[in-house]
């Protein structure tokens, strides 16, 4: 690669006067913003006041229980624990004091037995005097719900045995997938979905730091599409910023980017729910939908929102349609054909609407 710091051929084409500063900037651009703007210390964590408060207390007292963080994706679980360890040990000692494992690493029972156990029983190394550095290490098991039950069971004893010198932090989306004995050994923290205002605040902060000019409503659209998932909002922001290099980010671009189906398409679907539509009319509409590549699950979600807010439909009709949608969703999750399922849903829903009218 770039051995002598020469500008690369393609770069020369794109911009002839690229200074060294620019190329380092380009390098910086490669880091995902989610990583770049991860909270550096525990006070930076957006929202989750209760959790932060408890953890801050434990920083002062240097007393930390085993932790179990759970909650929907993108609410700051991993960020919180990483920030906490940095606050505790300082940026240098973190490397030796913390073991982070996630689903991309092999995490079968053998790894728990060897790697985790070896790390857990090692004696605590030198600490940085400027930080609290309590006399224990931390093992972070990210995405713990994708660990096998066997591996989780193997952890039980390890957690107890080495609790004097090692603390565990399990991070997962679904607490129900962590076996009971393991969950009962930890203090559980629930991370709630980010409130809209706070998410909007954080995203616009990053946008201004990265010099992305956003139109009114664009940031809100980003956050709404992400449904409380801050990481998703950030990723979308970064991808969007690449697309609108020198122009303004609009809500429309955001919608296209995150794969939201345009409202007219949904309206067209809803519009075909009348007594006078024939099956072949519906087929034309559905064919068009599928050919345009809109994912069925997304169609279903948006159509559901649309139908439930519909004032022309009675409660009974809504209930019946909701039932239909539920079974369609189940079928889709089982991997049934999108075309046939949406077709079925549309035809049956039309029947429901026609019956009552």
């Amino acid at each position: 690669m770039d051995f002598f710091g020469r500008p690369k051929p393609a770069d020369q084409q794109s911009a002839k006067t690229k200074s060294a500063q620019d190329s380092s900037k380009a390098e910086e651009k490669q880091i995902p913003w989610v990583e770049k703007y991860r909270p550096k210390n525990i006070n930076d964590v957006t929202a989750q006041e209760e959790v932060v408060q408890v953890l801050r207390k434990s920083l002062e007292t240097k007393n930390l229980p085993h932790l179990l963080f759970y909650g929907p994706p993108g609410t700051g679980k991993t960020s919180t624990i990483l920030a906490l360890t940095r606050d505790m040990y300082g940026p240098e000692a973190v490397k030796t004091r913390v073991l982070e494992l996630n689903a991309s690493d092999e995490r079968g029972i053998s790894v728990v037995r060897e790697k985790v156990k070896t790390f857990a029983r090692a004696v605590v190394s030198q600490s940085d005097p400027r930080y609290p550095s309590p006399p224990y290490k931390i093992v972070i098991l990210d995405e713990a719900d994708s660990m096998t039950t066997d591996a989780q069971a193997a952890l039980r004893r390890i957690m107890e045995k080495y609790s004097r010198i090692t603390r565990f932090c399990l991070v997962c989306n679904y607490v129900s997938r962590i076996i009971e004995p393991l969950a009962s050994r930890c203090t559980k923290f629930r991370f709630k979905s980010l409130p809209r205002e706070q998410a909007v605040g954080r995203v616009s902060e990053v946008a201004s730091l990265e010099h992305v000019s956003c139109e009114e409503g664009a940031v809100e659209a980003l956050v709404d599409c992400a449904e409380g998932d801050l990481r998703r909002a950030m990723m979308s922001l970064q991808s969007a910023s690449r697309m609108v290099e020198n122009s303004t980010l609009t809500a429309g671009i955001v919608a296209e980017l995150v794969g939201v189906i345009p409202q007219p398409v949904i309206e067209k679907l809803r519009g075909s729910w009348t007594a006078s539509t024939s099956v072949s009319d519906i087929r034309d509409v559905v064919d068009d939908l599928i050919y345009n590549g809109y994912p069925a699950s997304q169609v279903l979600a948006q159509l559901h929102d649309r139908a439930m807010a519909d004032e022309q439909l009675g409660s009974l009709q809504k209930a019946k349609i909701a039932l239909l949608m539920a079974s369609t969703d189940k079928a889709l999750c089982d991997g049934a054909d999108e075309h046939l399922q949406i077709m079925d849903l549309m035809v049956q829903a039309t029947k429901v609407v026609a019956q009552q009218a």
Binding site: P9, E27, R232, M235, R242, E245, V279, Y291, D337, L340
Partner: protein, 351 residues
């Protein structure tokens, strides 16, 4: 001699004919010197692969077109050996992990980590990163997708992933949120006609307007299929006449026959005959879902309006069963039997 589909495949972003908005976006993306992870989705024959190849070319130049096929061995944790075919150039690797069945996680982990941890060696390379193209990403198991999550973030410096799939429904949301979604819609009828005409011009043949329209409609907005059909028609008879039949694939005609016979008589004997025919189609490797869909389309066309919703519902029901079940023939047959009983009852009631 290459097929027309391959011969006239656009090789760069500039040569793409339809979806000009999307092309513009992609051009901006690939020229900005950086590329996010991409998730390209859309129906078959819409040009997903063509676009991916064009992006790669745009980024790396013609070097990305020098492909070689190699075989790699992977070892599963249970010491089973897997052989996977890889298509690679100096800058990218294409894999089809569904070849590995339930062991696709191993392939993803090993391959991506290996690529990600080695840097580009060639000094002439324009970009710092390599690209991994994963075809049929919707066939990846959950495990494999989970394995992708962290790797995609961690090795962002040296590698980009391009996932190619027909729908986003089966891609887990954490992976989706790490990608830029690129929707490639099927070309409209006019787009298909346009491409047919341009290919015809390059081949030096004339295609009547009405015939081109028919081809486009018959291909169901699948460009790949439209061009194959054009070539097939050309081989069979040339010059084209306005009333020229569009050459439907043989299996489609066969399935049409099945549906017609089911509409004609509804008896156990007929069911047995249909069963044989269904087996025949299945042994020709036509996916059961396609069979069921095609049959149901013909049946819906053949029955009266008040019966149509019922048929659609049954088709959806049995297709769902088909997915959860194991033996396709059982479900196909069940659907036919159900149709016969529903249809017969309906006819008797109306008499």
């Amino acid at each position: 001699m290459a097929l027309w589909v391959e011969k006239h495949r656009p090789t760069s972003l500039d040569k793409l004919t339809f979806h000009s908005d999307l092309t513009e976006h992609l051009k901006q993306l690939s020229s900005s010197g950086d590329l996010p992870h991409l998730l390209v989705y859309g129906p078959t024959g819409a040009g997903k692969r063509t676009r991916i190849a064009a992006i790669l070319r745009e980024i790396y130049g013609s070097g990305a077109e020098k492909l070689k096929v190699s075989q790699r061995m992977f070892e599963t944790p249970s010491r089973r050996k897997l052989e996977i075919n890889l298509i690679s150039s100096n800058y990218h690797i294409e894999v089809n992990p569904s070849d590995a069945g339930i062991y696709d996680r191993v392939v993803i982990q090993d391959l991506i980590k290996e690529i990600a941890q080695t840097q580009q060696v060639a000094t002439s390379s324009a970009r710092k990163f390599k690209v991994v193209v994963v075809h049929e990403a919707d066939a990846l198991t959950r495990d494999a997708q989970h394995a992708l999550r962290r790797t995609m973030e961690k090795y962002m410096g040296n590698m980009r992933v391009i996932l190619c799939s027909t729908s986003t429904g089966k891609i887990i949301s954490p992976v989706q949120s790490r990608c830029l979604l690129v929707r490639v819609a099927a070309p409209s009828i006019e787009d298909v006609v346009g491409v047919i005409n341009s290919v015809a011009m390059k081949e030096g043949i004339t295609v009547p307007e009405s015939f081109a329209q028919q081809l486009a409609a018959g291909s169901k907005r699948n460009l790949h299929r439209a061009l194959l059909m054009l070539e097939a028609a050309y081989v069979r008879q040339y010059p084209f006449s306005d009333t020229h039949d569009i050459p439907l694939p043989e299996w489609e005609l066969f399935i049409k026959d099945i549906s017609q016979s089911a509409l004609k008589t509804q008896t156990p004997a007929q069911l047995m005959a249909i069963r044989k025919q269904l087996y025949e189609v299945l042994t020709h490797c036509i996916p059961p879902t396609t069979i069921l869909k095609t049959i149901s389309t013909h049946l819906v066309d053949g029955v009266s309006e008040d019966l149509k919703p019922e048929i659609v519902h049954q088709a959806a029901f049995y297709e769902h069963r088909l997915q959860s079940g194991q033996k396709a023939i059982v479900h196909l047959e069940a659907f036919m039997a159900k149709f016969m009983s529903v249809y017969k009852r309906h006819q008797m009631a109306s008499v």
